[in-house]
Symmetry: C2
Subunit: 481 residues, 2 copies
Amino acid sequence: MKLKAILLISAALGCVAVPALAKPKAAPVKTVAAPEAVEVTAARLRDAALKSDVAYGFVSDLTTRVGARPAGSEAEKRAAYWAAEELKRLGFANVKVESFPLSLWVRGPESIEITAPFPQALVGTALGQSAAGEAEAEAVLFDTWQEFLDSKADVTGKIVVLLQPMARASNGSGYGRLSGTIRGRGPLEAKKRGAVGFVMRSVGTDTHRFPHTGTTAWQGEGGLPSIALSVPDAEAISRIKRLQAEGKAGPLRLKMKTGGSFPGVGESHNVVADLIGSEHPEEVIVVGGHLDSWDLGTGAIDDGAGMAITMGAVKAMVDQGLKPKRTIRVVFWGSEEVNQPGGNHSAGGAAFAKTREGELSKYVVAGESDFGADKVYAISLPETEDKTFAVKVANALAPLSIYVDATAKPGGGADTAPLHEAGVPAIDLKQDGYDYFDVHHTADDVLDRIDPAQMQQNVAAWAATLWLIANTDVTFKAPAK
Amino acid sequence: MKLKAILLISAALGCVAVPALAKPKAAPVKTVAAPEAVEVTAARLRDAALKSDVAYGFVSDLTTRVGARPAGSEAEKRAAYWAAEELKRLGFANVKVESFPLSLWVRGPESIEITAPFPQALVGTALGQSAAGEAEAEAVLFDTWQEFLDSKADVTGKIVVLLQPMARASNGSGYGRLSGTIRGRGPLEAKKRGAVGFVMRSVGTDTHRFPHTGTTAWQGEGGLPSIALSVPDAEAISRIKRLQAEGKAGPLRLKMKTGGSFPGVGESHNVVADLIGSEHPEEVIVVGGHLDSWDLGTGAIDDGAGMAITMGAVKAMVDQGLKPKRTIRVVFWGSEEVNQPGGNHSAGGAAFAKTREGELSKYVVAGESDFGADKVYAISLPETEDKTFAVKVANALAPLSIYVDATAKPGGGADTAPLHEAGVPAIDLKQDGYDYFDVHHTADDVLDRIDPAQMQQNVAAWAATLWLIANTDVTFKAPAK
């Protein structure tokens, strides 16, 4: 039935070899099937991908068989070798696990509670890369990062608490504003001012009692104990602040404990696999997602989905018996989530680019999927001389309700940034991230968060796009430095 | 503006004393304001309650100032004395905290993980009243309670795992089927068959990673370590079961640890407060919710809401300067959630009824609110000779989209059951519980789950109903034994 459906679609597109029955009987001329136009194949591939359960099955297996796979952990290694075997089984070539060194961080026991004026336990979790420590002290509350920066309040010996909420947006624009400031630099700033602990409202858009972890700047053992509270717990502290303002509550005191440890240098892993190009194998299109996840959930939307979507798009070609002219390289990057001493994430992206320094001029384009499993709504493409290319993409993606966003310069994420910095152009398939930060970096990042139908649309978008890039002569300009 | 709005509504209902301006000038007769009809007052009260923030404010304060208040804990005691002061402040009379003994249970450290075939941590929590213990053993998986009961499988030395999901329904009918069987008797049954641990899918309708706790039968120190998994974790185990059936996964082994302890006999507390009747103070209407909560959340919907709704309904009368003819007694029952040695919950309900044995024949009716904070959609009333009464209630509640359900016999919950067993009739305001078991007994039972507007409808329904009962001669028949 699956095959029949494909044939029907192909027939509808007028792209199969004309069957014998349709031959005019009166004039029996010899007919030769014309090669299928690239746009037609892209459409066929798109429609097949829309029905494929390969991507969902991959995330289901990964989250069930491995679960959480923090950067540098034994579980991440197991995930790498499992994924490599899976890629071979699915028909990829040149499958490799490439290891690289990583400075490790491991979560330990952690807790936070109010000791005064209203004693009770709170739900929080340590920021990744934050140090072990204990503190019991008065809390100084700030509504925003700016208020904290501007404040002359003496926080010596106190616990700094940041209560700024994250704004919800489909493009996730509320995230970077807080992840790089409050979460990334908050503990460092607070320590500089003499604080003994750092507490923040989670960078998340939900109202459920899941704290959102995430990396802070690496400070090693010398850092402050740093905890993100779930949004309801942060809201409770905001209510206490209002009661204080009304004279109905005394000073807030918190007791906190974190157990993060730094076991030294370990190993993380990239998994690399190719669908080798039939005409220009040396011209490489890189796509992928990241292998590691935070330790609280099972990394379904972050980023099991990204691996599954990009891999699934390429696997759809295999399933259709299609061979691209250019090579498509699928990469599962290790250690995207964690900051490293003196550097930013991702170590996996950096290691991948470094290993291939000499060959990057042949890389056509690189794109990553790291924003959950919901639908793609727009695509932005790098500059090219071929003005027809964007039209081809637009036509292929319009049935999926995706438009070509010509106003935006395509950007990369953490994993492809080193490639883009080395001159590899970026493609950017923009996903709907309206709900993404409800779950991001929480224990609730599990398979149950993925809608298989939305994920299929996403796979279909990647499949059609990659086919067009891999089977035309389009070349893109290097990103502006 | 609040007063003006009330006057406008009153005027619209034609129930205020006719103002001087409206007197016919030609015939200056002496007019006397007729006493307001009970139905008119009920409507006025209802509409005022719809705008009141008293109930929401109560839950906000309770959850912020006390938070979790497990039965018999210091926090429950603090909640009791805080609530008593609050009730006095709000204008209630005869406010009392009535203490009674309780066999205590306290949660300890707990964890559960898969050790084979796919090692990873799971999210679970011990059942209330379950013992401390550790087990590392093969798991025997059952899809339903019936399958477990019927099974002849040897579970000696193994961990019994029940994977039955709960059905979602607005009336909560899916709950009792599992809480009394799998959760209540599962550990006992598993132990009888020689199992070393008991694990179950949470009794909950959500798909989030919150385990739902809840009481099991009291077995003291001799019971099995017993854990409820979050739904996503139970789903993961169901996936492993399917992989096993396909020959793709070996036997499941679990490692679990629970730390429940039984510190002996402590104290719990009922809080009782009256709005004293002006004509028949000895005729008592009992309403309330329960004071204790589970330890994971802050007890906003279970049952801060129930206390707030019933108290708020009576407070609306105070705010309107209304005095009922019969006494309305608001009760916050302690220790509803926990089973006791040899008995069922609620100890608070039993203590309340026991203390008043001699006077229960004067109790008109008793009702409790213990099903969250969403809207009321129906009411069922006990039998009465007064056939007009249900019509009055129907007319008062129709504007709130509530119908009188004449097909159902009103039942009580755990707290009023001892009253009903002693012959006090029950009223039952049926709330929409469609989402209730998404959150019930989880860490996510926090203020953020309450929609103030839905709660106001609920308060309004109680206010109008209680006013009609308190200000008519209606008497109800004792429930059939």
